[in-house]
Symmetry: C2
Subunit: 246 residues, 2 copies
DNA sequence: GAACCTGTTACTGTCTGACACTAAGTAAAT
DNA sequence: ATTTACTTAGTGTCAGACAGTAACAGGTTC
């Protein structure tokens, strides 16, 4: 007789601890900001040793569900993108994704970000973005800094669209794409000018709440970025390891 | 005098262990599939106790950098989306993202997936997708199953585009969106017909390698999906907790 | 030779118990 | 009411132990 492969899954004690606590967090028993009981307490509570509890805590910690504001407190974390994005970036780097892959996705994400921002942004945010743009202008000619500011510009833009899913999804991608480029792509002076022009146009469109125009210029901007890489023949080049990104 | 908040970061031993091993993996010293040295060995190697090593390993484990094919082996993981996606999904759920946010992003991702698939897919894959589609047809009227198959259809489609970044990025989003819907949105019988029609059209476009048409129908498909939700007034409803998704 | 059984062994999961160090709370001193 | 000194509880790490079992190595059977 042939048995179906049973996806049996051993559940170690430390996993169960982690799952149990995770459950309580997701269920809302433990709210973000709440302090966790002490390790010894948890240990007796679950009927295991401290070592076991600790292993569970380490899991939750690296999953970003709990964090440590001071070395003495462990509390339920306020969910935030950061942890997730770095991990996503690392995973992608490990998969050795190519620039083309990154670009294809960015090409959809950034215009969307611009469109949403045009609809949602309030004057203060636009002002802040203008500020970033000024920094970009000031950095003309300096590539590393240009890329870094550009990246910040796009992040701000994404946040302005008030879509956390988008913010979450685009960040690791654009991070890998932009910074990756910066490290290997040679840019000509033209590049900076077009960069600045595109940003300026996006900004203007935002002020007018003109979603279509914002989107169009964002697309142009990314296309431009890409053209340089195409010329350099980087399309199927592998993006850099994330270590270079930190 | 006022001191600036110094972002000092204590590095505990177990963190260093984790970082050290992570470094070796990312640097390529340890390749995916390689078996890790035993815990005792690592302990002496780093000059710490097994407990400490274990806590480090738990971190890496939940980060998906190492995994356990059998309870007795720990090896460097082959990077894959799975782990990441569930975490991403959970993070999003924790952030209580709305359907609108999910949809706005999906609306870009899925058409892109279709377009890429039309360019890249080979006959075998199209055949496999056709297979999935047949299942969908057979499930007509049964909502939960329909959604589940639909989701699989889209995943396959995305894989066919040979863009791992896209696969990675879209999965948690569409998972949350589709399954979330399935649990709270009431669909009328019409829905299934249109669903099937859209898929059929995408399939046909793939066969012709007609990227534009594939994209168009994918967009139509997602729009359709959304319309139901709009009618039901779910736009700003919060997506479900991830526990409901497993 | 390959396919099966069996004993050994090395390694994991978990436990007990301990100790140094320090953040945070408490009491004393100014 | 602050500041200072003192306690205390909780964390990070260690040492050593033990049961259970996956993986390996022989030995057996076909």
């Amino acid at each position: 007789m042939s048995l179906e492969p049973k996806p049996i899954q051993v559940h170690f004690a430390y996993q169960q601890i982690a799952e149990e606590i995770e459950g309580r967090i997701l269920r809302g028993d433990l709210k973000p900001g709440d302090q966790l009981p002490g390790e010894t307490e948890l240990a007796t509570l679950f009927g295991v040793t401290r070592s076991t509890v600790r292993e569970g805590l380490r899991q939750l910690e690296s999953e970003g569900l709990i964090h440590r504001p001071s070395p003495r407190r462990m509390e339920v974390a306020i969910p935030q993108a950061e942890l997730l994005t770095t991990r996503a970036g690392r995973a992608m780097a490990l998969m050795k994704v190519t620039f083309r892959e990154l670009w294809e996705v960015t090409m959809e994400m950034e215009p969307l970000a611009a469109r949403l921002a045009a609809k949602e942004a309030d004057p203060d945010e636009i002002e802040a973005l203008q500020q970033t743009h000024s920094e970009l202008v000031a950095a003309e000619g300096h590539m590393t800094r240009t890329i870094e500011i550009d990246e910040r510009f796009h992040m701000q833009l994404a946040e302005m669209g008030r879509n956390r899913v988008l913010s979450l999804a685009r960040e690791p991608v654009s991070l890998l794409l932009f910074r990756g480029f910066a490290q290997i792509a040679p840019f000509n002076p033209q590049f900076y000018k077009r960069q600045i022009e595109a940003h300026a146009n996006v900004l203007a469109a935002l002020r007018d709440h003109d979603a279509d125009r914002a989107e169009k210029w964002a697309r142009k901007h990314i296309e431009d970025f890409w053209r340089g890489a195409q010329i350099a023949g980087l399309e199927d080049e592998i993006a850099l390891a994330p270590r270079a990104l930190t």
